[in-house]
Symmetry: C2
Subunit: 205 residues, 2 copies
Amino acid sequence: MAKVTKNDTSTEEKILAAAKQVFMENGLDGARMQDIADRAGINKALLHYYFRSKEKLFERIFMEEAQKFMPKVTTIMLSEMPLFEKIEKFMGEYIDTLSQNPLLANFILNEVSRNPKEMMKKIWGNSRPPIDKVEEHLAKLIKKGEIKPIRAYDLMINMVSLCIFPFIARPMVQWVTKTNDEEFIKMMEQRKKSVVRFVIDSIKK
Amino acid sequence: MAKVTKNDTSTEEKILAAAKQVFMENGLDGARMQDIADRAGINKALLHYYFRSKEKLFERIFMEEAQKFMPKVTTIMLSEMPLFEKIEKFMGEYIDTLSQNPLLANFILNEVSRNPKEMMKKIWGNSRPPIDKVEEHLAKLIKKGEIKPIRAYDLMINMVSLCIFPFIARPMVQWVTKTNDEEFIKMMEQRKKSVVRFVIDSIKK
DNA sequence: GTCTATAACTCGATAGAC
DNA sequence: GTCTATCGAGTTATAGAC
């Protein structure tokens, strides 16, 4: 309350912005505090003044980014839309998020690999992915003969794979397809449609 | 020639085996020469005697592993099999390779991200992925009305995504599906069939 | 070829002046 | 809050004995 409002392109924010960039580009091990300080336009000592240690600073960045990775997606799958519409929204949402955060997928996946249980708890907390709900939804449609039999896990893994992988393997994809950054993003934009069609064609009867 | 044949479960091989393990688990930055020495049952000095530096040793390991990643797969796509059979062989080959080398995908993708152009040249040399051949093959079948229209790039990216991603996100997948290592591998084994069906169902008319 | 010992250096962290 | 200076741990790399 009441005028605690200090200048808000503050040092802390500069640090966070710099740290985000450096950690996402280099990972925890690869990142250098000196590098972060330089990009923030300050010195190392200040980093430790604001965030006690490298680990603590990293933790902060990781949590902020991890939130982006799971979120709306769960709500979509839990909603009451028709299945094909869910699929479209789900994959569109994922691809949009990654298009706007090019290094996000790599960053999360890497750090989760380093320390799976801890990180998964940090990301999901007490909640869990909405598999049961999807299972139900699929069961109904399979019974009605509207789609081919498929396990919920398989469908989810397939959708996520199709969305995320091209971003993880982005340097390879760009090398193979000879696209620059702009063209790559355009390609992903088109992919939103083609990949949804790919999934739906695969399961519909 | 002539008796340069020295004992061949030699120190050098022990080092390479140890280095492979440590680098694949921790990446270039995370790996420690001490750790490699310990696992090889020797001391750090010897590492430098055989391979001048950490970088050089890493390079050696990276190249050996990278070879595994691309190879047979190209031959399959260039062969004269029917398309659906190609797809089956291609994806089966990929999943088998990754099942036997759990950390391979992560390792390669990470290090390629760190230095894309260099690494891609090291991996592919002068050759290129067999996109044109696939393009041709697809064009024929589309014309005959046997499959739906799809771009070769899209099909290739989709297939590779479906094969590789579950291994990259393995800790997440195992957490979500509550599977242990053994069950995960079994799951991937089943996936070989389900994922091939998924792709074929999607493109066949 | 293999070892021990240590040099040379990098980097996160802290002390202390302003 | 911000800076300079420096410490101290940890790591790669080398020297030199065997």
